[in-house]
Point group: C2
Chain length 227, copies 2
C-alpha cells in the first residue's frame, strides 16, 4: 500500500475505455480479447489499472495511447462501477471513460498486436463483467454531447461533406434527419468552414467539403438535434 495515515480498506482501481470510431457510415467500438485471467480470451473493453501516482484521467489517456497510439484525445468520465462482485478476479472499482477517434488516423498495427478489433455498435458481442452496461452509459453520454455541440472533429476526416456529417449523426442517434433542415441548422452554428474543393465520389453534382473552424465551440443553450 501507498503511504497513508489512514487505516481503512483499499481497492483496486481500473479504468475502462469506450473508444468510438466511425467508418463505412457506421459507429464502431474498439474491443479486445482480455489477455489475463480470469475470463481470459473473452471480449472486453480496453482497460487498465490506475497507477499509484496518476489520476484516473491520466490512466485513461495512457490506456488509449497504448492501444491506439493517439494522444491528446478528448475523454470524459462516464460513470463509476463499484458492485462488489462485478469483477470475478477481486474487488475492483472501475471508472469508465469514453473517447472518439478517427479510425483512419490510429495505429492499426498497435491495435492488432493487442488483439483488439473494431465492431459495429449494433453488433457488439457479450462483453465481460458489466462492460456492456458501460457501453450503454457511454452511448447515452455521447448522444448527450452530440445533441449540444457539433461533434465530428475527432470522428470524421479532416474535410468532409454535410452528408457525411449527417450520416454520422444518424449513426449516433439511430434515426434519420431531414437533409435540408440538418444542413441549415448545422451551418447556422457557424463552426464549419466551406472549402473550395468538392467531393464528387458520393454524388453526381459534387458536394463542397467543410472543415471545423479552429475555435472552441461555446456552450449551446439549446439542442442542435433531438433524440
Amino acid at each position: 500500500m501507498i503511504n497513508s495515515q489512514y487505516n481503512y480498506p483499499t481497492f483496486h482501481l481500473a479504468v475502462d475505455c469506450i473508444i468510438f470510431g466511425y467508418e463505412e457510415d457506421e459507429l464502431k467500438l474498439l474491443i479486445t480479447h482480455r489477455n489475463f485471467p480470469p475470463a481470459q480470451g473473452e471480449w472486453s473493453l480496453v482497460g487498465g489499472w490506475v497507477s499509484e501516482n496518476e489520476t484516473v484521467e491520466a490512466a485513461a489517456a495512457r490506456v488509449l495511447f497504448q492501444i491506439t497510439g493517439l494522444k491528446d484525445i478528448f475523454m470524459e468520465q462516464v460513470f463509476v462501477f463499484s458492485e462488489p462482485d462485478r469483477d470475478l478476479g477481486g474487488r475492483v472499482i472501475s471508472v469508465a471513460f469514453y473517447a472518439m477517434i478517427r479510425i483512419d488516423k490510429h495505429d492499426r498495427d498497435l491495435v492488432n498486436e493487442h488483439g483488439a478489433e473494431w465492431w459495429t455498435l449494433k453488433e457488439i458481442p457479450n462483453l465481460i463483467f458489466d462492460h456492456n452496461s458501460m457501453v450503454e452509459h457511454a452511448h447515452e453520454k455521447l448522444k448527450q454531447k452530440a445533441g449540444y455541440e457539433l461533434i465530428g472533429k475527432n470522428l470524421l476526416p479532416g474535410k468532409f461533406t454535410i452528408l457525411q456529417l449527417r450520416t454520422l449523426y444518424e449513426a449516433i442517434f439511430q434515426r434519420k434527419f431531414d437533409p435540408g433542415n440538418f444542413r441549415k441548422k448545422i451551418l447556422s452554428l457557424k463552426v464549419l468552414e466551406r472549402l473550395n474543393d468538392k467531393n464528387t465520389a458520393d454524388s453526381k453534382k459534387g458536394a463542397f467539403y467543410y472543415r471545423f473552424i479552429n475555435r472552441p465551440q461555446e456552450f449551446m443553450q439549446d439542442r442542435i438535434v433531438r433524440q
Copy 2:
C-alpha cells in the same frame, strides 16, 4: 487487503456528499467540521469511507443516513476526484454524490451531534482539499437536472405554492423567472395537482397549494427553464 487475484496498487476510496436543502428562500448546503486529522476542525463536505462490501452508491446513502437520518433519497454520482495529492492524509480517490433533502424533515439533533451546519450556497466558506470544486460540479449537475425535470419533491414541503416553487428555481438558477410564464410552463407539465386549500400567509389573495402527482416524470425532450 481484500481477497483478490490481482497484484496491483490499491487505493483508499471515499464518498463525499453534496447535500442540498432549501429554507428561507435560499438554497443551502450541509457542511461539517472534519473530526479527524489531517485538517481536523476545518470545514468539509459530509463524507465517509467506502466499506469492503458496498458500492459507492450504498456508501453515499449510508453517509447521508448517518448524518441526516434520512433514507431512500435520490442521489446521483457527480464526478470522480483522483488527483494524487488531493487529500493531505494519503492517496484517496473520492466519488462525489449530490442529494436534495427537505430540511424540515431531517434529524436536526443528529446533524448537530456531528457538528454539521447548513450554509447558504452563496456563502460557503473555504472547504478542505477539492471540496469547493465538488460543490461547483454538483451545482452544475443540479441545474442540469432541474432544467429537464421538475424538481422540488425532495426540497419543498409536501404542499407548496407556485410562488414557492418559483423561488426555489430562482435560488437554484440564481436568476428571476417571469411569474406568469413560469406558472403556465410548470402547470403544462401536468406533474402537479392543485389542492383545495390556500396559502394566505404570503399573499392577501391567497394562493392554491399544489403537490406532486404520485407518478414518475418521463424524460423531457426540451428544457423546462433555461439557465
